[in-house]
């Protein structure tokens, strides 16, 4: 009996000591992410989840954060706010990360007050909405690319140069995503001397777009900018515009400047231009793209042919997370404040051609983009402008 008691007590002591020592051990730099791995944004989430994992694995092979191994955990948020927030809280409770990546604008908005006042993690997301690029309200957030408003800025700057005083139409979805950059877009048109003659609203996936096309024809629109859609109804608008004799150039923002739209447009691919923030997977003259391609062929042969722009966004975000962790670690301690300081200190940071050398703007974004045009022969996007910076 006595032996049993001693054995049990020793066991409890050992477990206790193990737990305490584990808790006292210094935490490795930790990054967590909520990806829309399922749900209607899964087309981005599947690539995004891999991108972050790949970027961490590559960084760990190269020594991690100043010799410390980077830990990375992710969960599926299903592109639903409640599921995403629950996943965020679960990951935070389990791993106490230093950096977090969210799945949507909605989730970012919902978590913004708590990230600022409570969690104080360096945060970014699958969003280019202004909320994540407003350091006064949300000092711990950033966007690894231009905001939607800045994308409009890049497009309008290009148009103003190509055809001063052109007639513009904004064609957007009646969603939070669709309406986000419209007020800024209106202002930018005025500033750049462009005539905003029409604002057309359609449902995501809507097929009945005849009224909008006829309205644009009546108003003699020269450039139509889509926002808030991924594919449909963009391909229908472009196809039907031909039938109705509307002569206008079509452009889109980040999420619609993607291969799946060209696959739908087929022979009309050259009718579509867009703004993108990152180099494409097939532009392997850039060393980082070359590295990603080799890594994908080795580790994810299923995706060897193509990696989407969401992959590039996530990969770049992870690069910035890791760089901030390195700088914060060197400065003494990895905290929310030191990570934000590290973020703001990033200037001309070479990302291997994924985009031009990165400088985080005072708005915590990277206001750079490039205009590309679809190529019906290769079904790829070709660059038609150099990188356009708004600073």
């Amino acid at each position: 009996m006595k032996k049993t008691v001693i054995f049990v007590l020793s066991l409890v002591l050992c477990i206790g000591l193990f737990t305490v020592s584990k808790a006292m051990a210094e935490q490795n730099p930790t990054i967590c992410a909520v990806h829309p791995f399922t749900g209607r944004f899964a087309f981005a989430g599947i690539h995004g989840a891999d991108a972050m994992e790949d970027a961490v694995a590559m960084a760990n092979e190269e020594g991690g954060v100043n010799g410390k191994k980077i830990e990375y955990y992710w969960a599926d948020g299903e592109y639903k706010n409640d599921v995403g927030i629950a996943a965020f809280k679960r990951l935070y409770a389990q791993h106490k990360p230093h950096c977090m990546f969210g799945q949507s604008t909605g989730m970012t908005k919902a978590l913004a007050p708590e990230i600022k006042d409570r969690y104080k993690v360096l945060y970014s997301a699958y969003t280019f909405a202004d909320i994540a690029a407003s350091p006064k309200e949300n000092p711990n957030m950033f966007i690894a690319g231009p905001t939607y408003s800045e994308m409009f800025g890049v497009l309008l700057k290009y148009i103003a140069k190509e055809q001063p005083g052109a007639n513009i139409a904004f064609f957007y979805s009646d969603t939070e995503f669709g309406r986000e950059p419209i007020p800024v877009g209106r202002e930018l048109c005025k500033q750049m001397g462009l005539n905003l003659v029409a604002e057309e609203i359609a449902k995501v996936g809507g097929v009945d777009i005849t009224t909008q096309i006829l309205d644009m024809k009546r108003k003699k629109v020269d450039y139509c900018i889509f926002h808030g859609f991924v594919v449909t109804p963009i391909q229908n608008v472009i196809k039907q515009s031909k039938d109705y004799g509307l002569k206008c150039k079509f452009m889109g923002t980040f999420w619609s400047t993607e291969k799946h739209l060209l696959d739908q447009l087929k022979g009309l691919a050259n009718e579509y231009m867009g703004v993108t923030a990152y180099s494409y997977y097939y532009q392997d003259e850039n060393p980082m793209i070359k590295k990603i391609k080799a890594w994908t062929q080795k580790n994810h042969p299923k995706f060897a042919d193509y990696r989407s722009q969401a992959y590039m966004q996530n990969f770049l975000t992870m690069q910035i997370f890791i760089e901030c962790l390195k700088r914060a670690d060197k400065s003494g301690a990895i905290t929310g404040d030191s990570l934000t300081k590290a973020l703001e200190s990033i200037k001309n940071y070479d990302v291997g051609g994924l985009m031009p050398p990165v400088t985080i703007s005072k708005n915590h974004s990277i206001p750079v983009g490039r205009i590309v045009r679809g190529n019906p022969k290769t079904m790829k996007f070709d660059a038609v402008s150099d990188w356009i910076s708004l600073d």
């Binding site: 791995f37 599947i46 599926d76 299903e78 629950a86 409770a93």
Partner: protein
């Protein structure tokens, strides 16, 4: 040895705590919910809060759909009305959170009564469509009445406080949620054994007969809509205050279906069923998420198959429950209770 549970008076039959068995388990459950915040981490408390909001909303919907037989596909809209009312009162008119809560319930109840008017003329699938219209009308209002709701941007809501204490964490908010859950469930449990509750059930079983025996259909149907929406409004106000932000995205049509599923899976016409349904519909997806993380950790590569499968598993679980026990989780609970109560003479 006592076997079975016999009642000799109607008063006994209507008692809330009908046996020592019930009192014992409820007492034990109460101890658990009181101890829970001290042993749970922030994530578990977050889920507990979400379950609490779901319980309040589901109990409200069960009063309307389960007890009165009026199907509503617009419950999420009433949750939204309560949420926006509370947010606007707190941020625009400087109301305290505590004062905004009853107003949130009242405004939602008013909205519910207006939407409930068609129930006097139509029922079944036709009423479904009428309430569905409410869902879309309110969604439109939340997005387009920008001067009041701030449109798609939404409204940031400060956390509630008493004196100098702020209910900022999941743990502190848990007590607010628990208070309203106990209040809401307790009221509903009492309501159904009152005259009004019996009128609701009479309307559900046969409204024509109910009218013949003197039940005022106009009054009771609208009361059911008002009470149900009041619950929804309270749930909405609590939910968005907990999240500290309200946007139109919080109240999609699918949320109405979700509440309906809670009530059906839990058990139509059972307060306890609403509680079980809310727990099931909130907890099971989380457990599946947890399982997918285990898969990711121990079988890397297979997450690509398992993670998308969890929606399928969740759906199959609901179907299985409905096939094997159409009266919901509450009936399964009753069977378990009866097994122990009658043991060892279950025949």
């Amino acid at each position: 040895m006592r076997c079975g549970d016999f009642k000799e008076t109607y008063i006994k039959d209507e008692e809330i705590f009908q046996s020592l068995f019930v009192k014992f388990w409820l007492g034990l459950f109460f101890v658990f919910v009181m101890v829970f915040p001290f042993i749970a981490d922030a994530y578990m408390l977050y889920i507990a809060n979400m379950i609490g909001f779901a319980i309040i909303a589901a109990v409200g919907l069960n009063l309307l759909t389960g007890f009165t037989g009026q199907i509503s596909l617009g419950h999420a809209a009433f949750v939204g009305v309560g949420a926006y009312t509370s947010a606007i009162l707190v941020t625009r008119l400087g109301f305290s959170f505590w004062l905004s809560i009853p107003f949130a319930g009242l405004v939602a109840a008013l909205a519910g009564m207006i939407i409930g008017i068609p129930s006097l003329r139509v029922k079944g699938l036709y009423l479904c469509i009428a309430t569905l219209a409410a869902q879309f009308i309110f969604e439109f209002v939340f997005i387009h009445w920008e001067s009041m709701t701030k449109g798609i941007t939404g409204i940031n809501i400060p956390c509630p406080s008493i004196g100098g204490f702020e209910f900022v964490t999941e743990k502190s908010f848990y007590w607010i949620t628990l208070f309203f859950v106990v209040l809401g469930v307790g009221y509903a449990r009492n309501l159904i054994r009152s005259r009004m509750g019996r009128a609701f059930v009479a309307i559900r079983d046969r409204d024509l007969s109910a009218e013949i025996i003197g039940i005022n259909l106009f009054r009771y149907k609208l009361s059911a809509f008002a009470i149900s929406s009041f619950y929804a409004g309270i749930a909405g106000a609590l939910w968005v205050t907990f999240l500290k932000v309200v946007t139109p995205d919080h109240f999609p049509f699918i949320l109405s279906i979700h509440y309906l599923a809670m009530v059906i899976v839990g058990g139509l016409g059972s307060v306890l069923g609403s509680v079980f349904g809310a727990i099931f519909m909130t907890l099971v997806p989380e457990l599946l998420n947890y399982m997918s993380e285990i898969v990711k950790m121990h079988a890397p590569g297979y997450e690509e198959i398992f993670v998308p499968m969890k929606e399928v598993i969740f759906g199959v679980l609901i179907v299985l429950f409905l096939v094997f026990e159409p009266r919901g989780l509450a009936e399964i609970w009753n069977r378990i209770k009866n097994f122990f109560r009658l043991w060892p003479f279950s025949y």
